[in-house]
Symmetry: C2
């Protein structure tokens, strides 16, 4: 690449883009870690996009109708921080740039959505940003359909790298986006031909343009260092009636000694080479310094959207008070006032009619009353709608020309679904929930972890949550998946025992603003155990006494989900032998952990009775509740799984794996 030619062809553009290059080079060198080459290579694309197309107002980075900019190739984080600093974002100051990758800085190694308002999503695990963007673009379509073009009308722009496109989740994302013709989604592929291990071609020779075409995308290819070509391609992409992919031929670490090499992907820290690169770029400013005229040009870019934001605010002010209030409510993620009464009414009805239903069915019963009062819910399933019980009658199906539809047929794409749900949630205005089998938590896992890290209150509806799934066998029977979700920070894992607890779990999950929830639900029918209606939400405590011991309390049984009724039956057996037995339902460990110690000690007294936990999953984690945290402990045992399951009818499996009332009672007696 001839740098001189680039410098002279469009000199103003060159220097403006090179401000991004220099900042990235300086910040990475100062941190002695990070990725210099990508920001250097994509600076031209970013400069044209931000200055000529991106609708944003640097002073108000979270204005609702802004265009979304997603750096899926999150390792190139200095590109984003450079753009924000130069354009005048109030949070990403020069001080932050200087503290790149240091403790407490907003300029983390990879962009973290919770550190600055302008960071739309957390990226770094490759492909996630791209997959989030599909959710962002769906959210825009849904909200535009609901609130009208005057309030919602924006694009979602993504920069994706070779890694993003090699990851499997990219396939799920582009398939879904293509199927839904998300025409306001525009993806730039940083086609630099380099990965960490060397040239892309050592591992991949996929024709990406053909691949995107196969998925129904609008595709263009340009020189990613030619500002006019970039501008023209974006203009064309904006008017396409399909999602758009712009393949940008770029040079990683352009103009540096490490250009076009895998070394250029990483941290360029050689002073001499860095100075030589700057010289070649024609950049003479001191490290971290940006000439005033360039900085002020960028600040004008940052201020360009203020008028658009003001016009939008004026349009919002013209809407009815009710509409304004509703828009504000859903964008803030607040539940409607009606929700609480709705859940209480359902609980009362269930307590009275005591149905024996699977908790997946109970979840549907809850959704049947929730969805009508919460127009912001968006349901879906990864091709298991009838099994996950996620579709209620009033939702309508989201489709081309049916953008008011609130149910998404995600296809057999658990990972893409979870990542798209995260995107919808991050966009704001929607409460996404989506279902698959609990065992396929595995497929969705990378996005479920990011939901927890990003604090997106997505709801994962995981049905068929044990060997109770039956004949499909061990591949479909979760045993370790409760432990997996419980081990993940900032995740509420609910395993409700019946239809009452299921309704309560839904109420709590929908009320979250910064924590995702996992609902672990049965395939098989379970009896109603909460037969006394209480208006209070008992699941909120995480664990509570469901049945008290009669006579001297000698045993405490701890159980969740379908095993709560097993524990109750064991209690009957034990009480019949005069062994006073308390049953504690523990639908949510995390909430129990958050209770005051006095409450926890009331439910699980530190000394005295033996404790036996029963759950059709692995023991991992249960010792926490069997033993107490510190000091005095109880004799304790566990009835559950210690291996994978098997293919057979569910009843047979519970017998064969010894998860029965008799086994629980026997364990108690062995301990006494």
């Amino acid at each position: 690449m001839d740098i001189q030619e680039l410098r002279t062809r469009t000199p103003d553009h060159w220097m403006r883009a090179t401000a991004l290059r220099a900042l990235a080079l300086d910040a990475v060198a100062a941190a002695n870690s990070g990725h210099s080459g990508m920001p250097i290579g994509m600076a031209d694309v970013a400069t044209v996009l931000w200055s000529k197309h991106l609708k944003f107002d640097a002073a108000t980075p979270d204005w609702a109708d802004r265009d979304r900019f997603i750096l899926s190739a999150g390792h190139g984080s200095m590109l984003l921080y450079g753009l924000l600093y130069l354009s005048g974002d109030p949070e990403i100051t020069l001080e932050q740039i200087r503290n790149f990758r240091q403790w407490g800085a907003k300029t983390a190694g990879h962009p973290e959505n919770f550190l600055a308002r302008a960071i739309e999503t957390t990226t770094g695990p490759l492909g996630q940003g791209l997959a989030n963007s599909v959710g962002f673009a769906m959210a825009e379509e849904m909200l535009r359909a609901r609130f009208g073009r005057k309030l919602v009308d924006h694009y979602t722009y993504v920069i994706a790298g070779d890694g993003c496109l090699m990851e499997g989740v990219s396939h799920e994302a582009i398939g879904l986006a293509g199927r839904q013709a998300l025409s306001k989604l525009i993806v730039f592929w940083d086609n630099n031909g380099i990965t960490i291990d060397g040239k892309v071609s050592i591992a991949d020779r996929t024709d990406q343009m053909m691949r995107f075409k196969a998925a129904g995308w609008h595709v263009q290819e340009i020189d990613g260092h030619d500002p006019e070509a970039i501008d023209a391609a974006i203009t064309a992409a904006k008017s396409a009636n399909a999602p758009s992919m712009i393949a940008c031929q770029t040079h990683i670490a352009l103009g540096h000694a490490a250009q076009d090499t895998s070394k250029g992907h990483g941290a360029l820290t050689n002073d001499e080479q860095n100075m030589a690169a700057k010289e070649g770029w024609g950049w003479t400013a001191a490290p971290f310094d940006v000439p005033a005229e360039i900085k002020s040009w960028w600040e004008e870019v940052g201020a360009r959207g203020a008028a658009e934001r003001e016009a939008w605010e004026a349009r919002l002010a013209e809407a009815s008070a009710a509409r304004q209030k509703e828009f504000a409510r859903v964008m803030a993620g607040e539940t409607p006032k009606k929700l609480s009464a709705t859940i209480k009414a359902l609980k009362k009805q269930v307590s009275e009619t005591t149905p024996k239903v699977a908790t997946r069915k109970a979840s549907e019963m809850a959704l049947e009353v929730i969805n009508p009062v919460m127009p912001e819910t968006v349901g879906g399933s990864a091709d298991l709608t009838g099994s996950n019980n996620t579709l209620t009658g009033d939702l309508g199906v989201f489709d081309i020309g049916e953008r008011k539809g609130r149910y998404v047929y995600y296809g057999i794409r658990e990972h893409g679904m979870a990542a798209a749900m995260n995107g919808m949630s991050l966009h704001g205005g929607l409460k996404p929930y989506g279902g698959t089998f609990m065992a396929f938590t595995d497929y969705a896992r990378p996005a479920m972890r990011l939901a927890a890290l990003m604090k997106t209150p997505t709801v994962f509806v995981m049905t068929h949550d044990s060997i109770g799934l039956g004949e499909d066998g061990p591949t479909h029977q979760p045993v370790e998946h409760l432990a997996i979700s419980r081990a993940t920070p900032n995740t509420l894992v609910f395993r409700p025992a019946d239809a009452v607890e299921t309704a309560e779990a839904w109420e709590i999950a929908l009320g979250q603003t910064a924590t995702p929830s996992v609902l672990s639900l049965t395939r098989q029918g379970v009896p109603t155990v909460r037969t006394q209606h209480k208006t209070a939400n008992l699941v909120e405590k995480g664990a509570y006494v469901l049945a008290e011991a009669e006579g001297k309390r000698q045993a405490i049984l701890l159980a969740t989900g379908s095993e709560v009724s097993v524990a109750l039956a064991a209690r009957e057996l034990l009480q019949a032998e005069g062994i006073g037995t308390r049953v504690v339902s523990m639908p949510c460990w995390e909430l129990f952990e958050q209770q005051e110690e006095s409450y926890r000690r009331r439910i699980l007294p530190p000394a005295g009775p033996v404790r036996v936990a029963v759950e059709a999953g692995m023991r991992m984690g249960w010792d926490r509740w069997l033993c107490g945290e510190r000091g005095r402990h109880n004799k304790a045992g566990f009835v559950g799984m210690d291996s994978f399951g098997a293919s057979a009818p569910a009843g047979t499996l519970f017998e064969k794996f010894g998860i029965t009332a008799e086994a629980v009672a026997a364990e108690v007696k062995a301990l006494l």
Copy 2:
């Protein structure tokens, strides 16, 4: 579809294929669960493949040079069981067919590789079989290069459904197969246009043919009910110089009332409709009955390969004794005798030189001595070769025309890598290991679970195993991933403390024949803690006393990996205050659990000293070791993570998150 026309066009073929249809219909109806439609739709393809092309000998289903047949659309398991029963597989008897999906049957809901020799791999989680098949095909190339065409020369055939092709892992698999030009891999796409939620088109409109072409595949499209077209397509695929995809237009549940509907995907249990379907097919035999001439035709199909097997055995017998022995050794998965001495020599050297190296580097040191004595190892990384330290000098890179290369550049495809490793391991003759960052266990997770279920001794090299990763931040810092792998049945999770333990862990991992291993390795340097050479492999015990208390034993510190040296430093602080402190290194919980109780009690005496565990991960699971299983317990505490990490230099993070010797000593003193 006009059944009459199919019946009359090729009547013999029709009835032979329809035997598969009838068995599937009967078995699913008897089980009252399962998937009838797929076997019915793909019976023609399977019949042509098995009778005209597949190299197999039903009586010896595990003959080494057989063609591999992989039913990636595993829910159609009755197709496989039908083929095996009809062709005379010794294990899949009529009794087994009648017991489809029942306790103890080999005919599980989804094919389970460990239940019958003829079942190559466990399928069910969609896309896995397809991704395994890439490993099978790579294994064939590698072994052919090593042992010659006379001993290794076979195809890998796969039946994949729409679900397989929608899953992200399919993208990783076909990209890798295309890049490596795996010309002996032939995939049939059961293009029936139907999924559980309805028509495929409600969720996906990808042009699959174009997509496979984009990945470098040879592509054909045929009528999947036309035996001549099927035959011709397979013949063409076999001579292509790329992996081949044959798009088979089929009708799910062909000829049944549920044909071409999502109902046809599931269990067809309506007697009347089933009888009508059989009538339409011209099938008059009683349920589970197969007319003698059809059964005997299928048995001839099953016997067809006996001559080929015998010829192969004769060729094997012609090889030198050493070659025969080596072939038998690697196919049996036995480690070479030299391995033990090699590891001991390395351990001795490390104990004497006491290097301060990261355990990822220690892993490379181990591989440098292992790979030369184990020609069956196949290394690789998901584009993090230099970080995972998985490439040693002697391996050579596997590539087109370089099939003796033993290192695979898997690309940014953690999931595809893990699934391909499983396939290589299942093929036999190779010991695959592959690396990525520990946090990206999430991406590989579905295949890692299957390794455990399938009992494949794959080795997952997971480096950068804590906040010690530093500046890349929380997306790249595992905190819950040790718990995730430890919660998974049949998985050995090693977190070695230094280069000696790392060598020992490798020795154990390579010695497994039915259990995968996860090596959790540091990015950052750690001191050698095993400075006294012992020939015994101490990691084999799972946990052992690394440093004994001086004076009265008041505390036991439990630690793994990089925190073992933290525990040793804490011990120094405590001993200086006269608090006798034992340090237990716990590199592998699962192995410790397998020790006799007397050993476990010797290491962790049930009463007396306080226990404090230190590990830079979540507490989940540790209470097991802090409290003891039953009865008497100790006061106990934990020093580790209870949240996600952050972006900063590693040293700062350990300070800020309080994982220090001082914090451990303080916790002990608080408990005393």
